[in-house]
Amino acid sequence: MTTAALPDRRGRDIEVERAELAATWRPRPGLWGWLTSVDHKSIAKRYIITCMLWFLLAGVNAALMRLQLSRPENSLVGPDRYNQLFTVHGSAMMFLFAVPVMTAMALYLVPLMVGTRDVAYPRLNALGYWVFLTGGLFLFVSFYLNMGPDQGWFSYVPLAGPQQSPGHRVDVWAQMVTFTEIAGLIAAVEIIVTVFKLRAPGMSLNRIPLYVWSALVIAFMIIFAMPSVAIVSTLMLAMDRLVATQFFNPAEGGDAILYQHMFWFFAHPEVYIMFIPGLGFVSEIVETFTGRKIFGYPVMVLSLFLTGFVAFGLWVHHMFATPIPQLGQTFFTAASVLIAVPSGVQIFCWIATIWAGRPRFTTAFLWALGFIVVFTIGGLTGVMVASVPFDLQVHDTYFVVAHFHYVIIGGVLFPLFGAFYFWFPKIFGRLLDERLGKWHFWLFFVGVNVTFFPMHLLGLDGMPRRVYTYIPETGWGDLNMLATVGSWIIAASVVVFLVNVLKSVRGGAVAGPNPWGSPSLEWATSSPPEPWNFTRIPAVESRTPLWTASEAAELPVVTGLRTDRREFLVTSALDAVPESRHELPEESIWPLLMAVAIGVTFIGAVWRFWAYGVGFAMATIAFAGWAWPRRTRPEDVVWSRRRARPAPAPLGAPPAAPSAARSPEAAP
């Protein structure tokens, strides 16, 4: 370790800086490196892959359900197995796929899109992933051990209460929710702080990419919505079951409706938590492939916020069949109807953008178009079910199953697959195959419609949800068979996608930094990005920085950040004016150990109440290790983790703050 005056770093060679950054940010090798990694890209990648694994497993459940329902009085699975199948399908898709895959995408993309080196709290981020992994494993291992929850993904009491569901199936569900809530809240905190304080200089609020706005909106929604379900499942339901509190037992003055209010206060916004990032994906894809700025940017941003806000005023429309006063119902009907407006506005803006642009019909763009075509059907049936009298006819029938699969597949999966085709080259450095991609798209598009459109008719014909079989006299057999055939088409398309990924990740065309000619900052760095994301932090002068840079033939950058420490720039929340430099923490095992402690606590508590005590003790130790004071290094100490090296000779006075300079080599 050498002490020297802080050198001036202006005007240094970028290759020298890159080499120094590589030494400072070099990931640790081997399994230990994998377990201790805090790099947001590494963590988000495994987050996404884990989510896709749960998606495939939950999809297998769906395929089995479709097989069982393909003809009346089928005996492939009995009621016990079937109830587990649909509960695990719903729970996994909601808690382990749709929401976490969206936060995982945000954890990968947001730091790159706002132009910084990592998320705000990298170790916390790692903890979020490990906790999420624990929750997912707990649910699926329990399911394969025939201990999967069987009371529905909503776990209504009294059916989920201690009298009606003895055994541990419901506990598995309640604790799985706990894990995903912890992970979700962590991701939300990461996203909010990263967007507010880590943006590249010059990226004022009116220059934030629409996808980053959507991530910010859902982060706030998670913070407001998730505590509600955490309290109702982790605390009240679990305590009713484990220590005989009587929150929901009517015989002891408890109330079954209270549960529904608290559950849906979370679960309705949750639908928008998974859907709003989809809107962000579509905006980015449309902007890139039409080659022009999104029409109506301020309106798009306001629509995202309006959707996020009104989403909290809709939950009672899941409860229209319970005794709710008519005036209250009217309020929720009006909110449910009017939430269609911001979505409609965004669709109109995209159409206007496409009209005025020069569309390139790549696979990613097809997914964006498919999103509008499929999602709009779900949106329109959504307006219908906002009506109390109509909802009372179709509530809890296959009409609603059709409705929300159109909304979620249209609003979440179509944009997500589009996003995969769009950002895969950034994440893996290679392009996905376009021809297989188009097969994937068209098979999926046909499969979804063949599967779910007939369900509208089944619902109107009186077929309720969550039935493991039906009698032939109902006449539901043919449409069910049609839907089952559709599910095979969906399965085929997913297989095509997997083949495409496995083929392209090694053998796809090399992408280069910006294969699509996109305007946002994540394309200003190499594909895949280096662990430090940007050798020099970009400075932003417009809403589409790379397009501006290609006109000006250079991308302005920030110089002066230290390369011998993991330093990043903190900027002001509104105008992204540089405020200070901070240092990111290095690799750490404590997030994993903390996740183990949390896992012991909540999984152990399913069987033994004292597990709370053991887990608490373990968590205390993990927390102590985590928060153990790090050596503070004075500002003038030049130090590298791997080699103490002599500081360069001082070159005049140290810079007071990082300064902006123009470096032509960083321009695309």
Binding site: P79, D80, Q151, P158, L159, Q164, G254, D255, I257, T290, R292, V299, A321, P323, Q329, T330, T333, V337, A340, V341, F348, I351, A352, I354, W355, A356, R358, P359, F361, L369, I372, V373, T376, I377, L380, V383, S387, V388, P389, F390, L392, Q393, V394, H395, D396, P454, H456, L457, D461, G462, P464, R466, V467, E473, T474, G475, W476, D478, L479, L482
Partner: protein, 334 residues
């Protein structure tokens, strides 16, 4: 959209039991109002959808023509685009407001409690069957049955809903929308049948293992016929005369049957399971699961778990002639 789908379904050989349990075949004023609302919403939605998709395709075609001609994208936001998007938004809001007003007016007509003297029926949900109690002005008019509700045509029927164990939901799509039966709360719903017929309903809120096999029938009949049925139902079970039936009654009383079931006019008085006083007059067994035939009844008594796994009725090991006698007795309970 819907018609196209129906055509497609017909082409694929679909044959749907139209009036069996359908929202699209309204047989009462409330279901009819909702059906009108549905048709209105369907037409509007189909038009809106077609326009949206056409606009999207047109925009894509316009844009790709520009790409073919090698023209650059239109930079900036043209006033025409702003006007088009504003117009689209304005029309959307207008349509939604019209829908909202229409919807609220339908809501008022369908949920208001009827003033004309309604027939009151208490309906209690059990895992997985329906207990139906008719109440009248005097306690002597009360009688209980299960899974089959007879109502007079043209008279509003008020249902008072309770649940015994978990939440269930009462729904007869041809007549009206659903209402939840919630333990610890009493709810109510009413409807009226305008056409005689047999309408099937099914529990609509997931309630455990046999949620799928928790159906009921509403039999709407002319008032005179209904009166006859009600009078017959009010009567106690006639003492058996046939020697086989007499023996069957003894089997019933000595086996576990009497522990759960009630037969008015006998010593069997438990209400844990469905009331069997007039079992033979009902159309189905096990809450709409199987037809009420002698063979099905025998199968149900001997091994209910095979027909309805998880049902609360235990299997019954009976000697063959005991079973025959029991069947004869139960079939005499008209």
């Amino acid at each position: 959209m819907k018609r196209a789908a129906v055509c497609a379904a017909l082409l694929l050989g679909a044959c749907r039991g139209a009036t069996y349990q359908s929202v699209l075949e309204p047989k009462g004023p409330q279901a009819a109002h909702v059906h009108q609302l549905w048709r209105f919403a369907l037409v509007v939605a189909a038009v809106v959808y077609a326009l949206t998709v056409l606009a999207l395709l047109w925009a894509a075609w316009r844009g790709s023509r520009r790409a073919r001609d090698g023209m650059p994208p239109v930079e900036g936001d043209r006033p025409g685009m702003t006007r088009a998007v504003s117009l689209g938004t304005g029309v959307t809001v207008a349509i939604l407001l019209v829908f909202l007003v229409y919807d609220l007016s339908v809501g008022r007509t369908t949920t208001g409690v009827p003033i004309r003297d309604p027939l009151t029926i208490e309906l209690t949900g059990h895992q997985w069957w329906w207990e139906v109690t008719y109440s009248g002005p005097s306690p002597r008019d009360r009688f209980t049955t299960a899974n089959e509700i007879h109502i007079p045509v043209g008279r509003p029927v008020l249902f008072v809903l309770n649940a015994d164990d978990v939440i269930h939901s009462f729904w007869v799509p041809n007549l009206a929308g659903k209402k939840d039966l919630i333990p610890g709360r009493t709810t109510s719903v009413w409807f009226q049948a305008d056409t005689p017929g047999v309408y099937r309903g099914q529990c609509a809120e997931f309630c455990g293992y046999q949620h799928a096999k928790m159906a009921l029938f509403v039999v709407a009949e002319p008032t005179s016929q209904y009166r006859q049925w009600a009078e017959a139902s009010l009567a106690q079970a006639a003492p058996p005369s046939d020697p086989a039936a007499v023996r069957g009654q003894q089997v019933f009383m000595k086996s576990s049957c009497a522990l759960c079931h009630n037969i008015e006019g006998t010593l069997a008085g438990s209400h844990a399971g469905p009331d069997l006083t007039h079992l033979a007059s009902r159309r189905t067994l096990a809450a709409g699961t199987i037809r009420n035939t002698r063979g099905n009844l025998a199968g149900w008594i001997v091994d209910p778990q095979r027909i309805k796994p998880g049902a609360h009725m235990p299997p019954n090991q009976l000697a063959p002639d005991d079973l025959e006698a029991l069947l004869t007795y139960l079939q005499s309970l008209r």
